[in-house]
Symmetry: none
Subunit: 131 residues, 4 copies
DNA sequence: GTGGTCTAGACCACG
DNA sequence: GTGGTCTAGACCACC
């Protein structure tokens, strides 16, 4: 699987996992009916506590992204793609707003911010094809 | 002083305070030799516990931004402006890189990201003059 | 762990703790990856308030000596030994310089100072093996 | 006068003043019957709060080093030199013991400590004639 | 008046 | 279980 966790990142591990799964659904990497790894298997591969994976899956169930299938495990729901795309959009927008707002509070000139952003987006986006 | 804290923000209050002071120094609102509000006064104005303010000030001392003047209070150091400007720059750049990177992982088309960013920066930056 | 605090010492307790941990790292008693006692456990053993221990640990994190491992506790970083050895060296040198300087200001004859120092170092260093 | 205070030093200013006066007495720079500067004059020259000087003088009186002389101000007592020499001796010894002890706790090899000390005492003591 | 230390205890997030 | 944040309040040293 394509999930990767960054222990250095301050965002909770379970959130990193949930988000990556949602984004995989949003971009079609995971489709309705696809199974996700079992809690134990995922925990083994990421070398983390199974409770952490369970928490991520629990949240995803609560949001209607995953559904338990008797004897099979958890599968992606039919409504998931639409929901995940919406969420991805909202998430990126929210982060952008927050960032721009903080830059304003820091009194960083808008022009500088724009320049820096374009510089970064150009250098990073084209840097490499994704894993 | 113009420090304002947002209890709704998930970042710790003491960090909000420290950051705002750093940014004030970075933009020249606070100059070397200027005194910051006393712990008690700042706490009173923000209606928070003095210990919380003290923690912010303590962190700023550890970073060499503030210097205690016995019995008088805390003053901005001579090296502070350079340090704060560097930090502000690094901070905004780091956040931008992180954001763009996550957008890439979420497989959001660069063009969409650019458009969204410009839209937000234009609407927010010009929205109002700062308090 | 072998940390011991002296309430009679005028240096803050949290500083005594932090220093002893640094010195333990410097001398190899604590190695990278080793966990330190939990805040609560350390506080219980020293019969002091957990917040005091937390403050020591917080400072050590700020200096890059300790690293939090989510939900597990704090571990010694890889860079810690070098840093701690450097700091121990600087610390002892600084204190020596300060002492000699003050002795000079007090117009104590260098020869007397030397004699006194050698006398003390010989009597104390060999006095007992360390705990 | 020859008193100088170092705001960077963590020892209280009033203590720096008192100590320097005691050491001046111990080394004969100030003799019984000599007057010290008035509180106001000393405070003016050091650019510090008069209360701080007053505190130093108060302590010196309590220790029998200074004595008020009607209309004259404070003068050095007859017993002062002996007392100050004893104190200087005790003070330097105490600091040495403390330093050596801490070096032992830091597990610094006695030989290294000795070498470092001799190095410093040789370089500093001969560096310059005193002001 | 100033900041600094320490205690006590509540609440939260994470694993 | 872990650490982190915040509050409340006492006590101290310094100026």
């Amino acid at each position: 699987m394509f999930v990767r966790v960054d222990p250095g990142d301050s965002t909770p591990i379970y959130e990193q996992i949930a988000r990556q799964i949602k984004f995989a659904v949003a971009s079609g990497g995971l489709r309705p009916g696809d199974r996700v790894l079992s809690v134990r298997e995922m925990a083994r591969r990421l070398a983390i506590n199974p409770n952490t994976v369970a928490r991520a899956y629990r949240d995803l169930q609560a949001e209607g992204i995953l559904l338990p299938q008797r004897g099979l495990g958890l599968v992606v729901t039919v409504g998931a793609p639409a929901r995940c795309r919406r969420e991805r959009e909202a998430w990126i927008r929210e982060r952008l707003v927050q960032l721009v707002n903080e830059a304003r509070l820091a009194r960083i000139p808008p022009h500088d911010l724009r320049k820096l952003f374009l510089e970064i987006v150009d250098s990073l986006q084209s840097e490499e094809s994704l894993p």
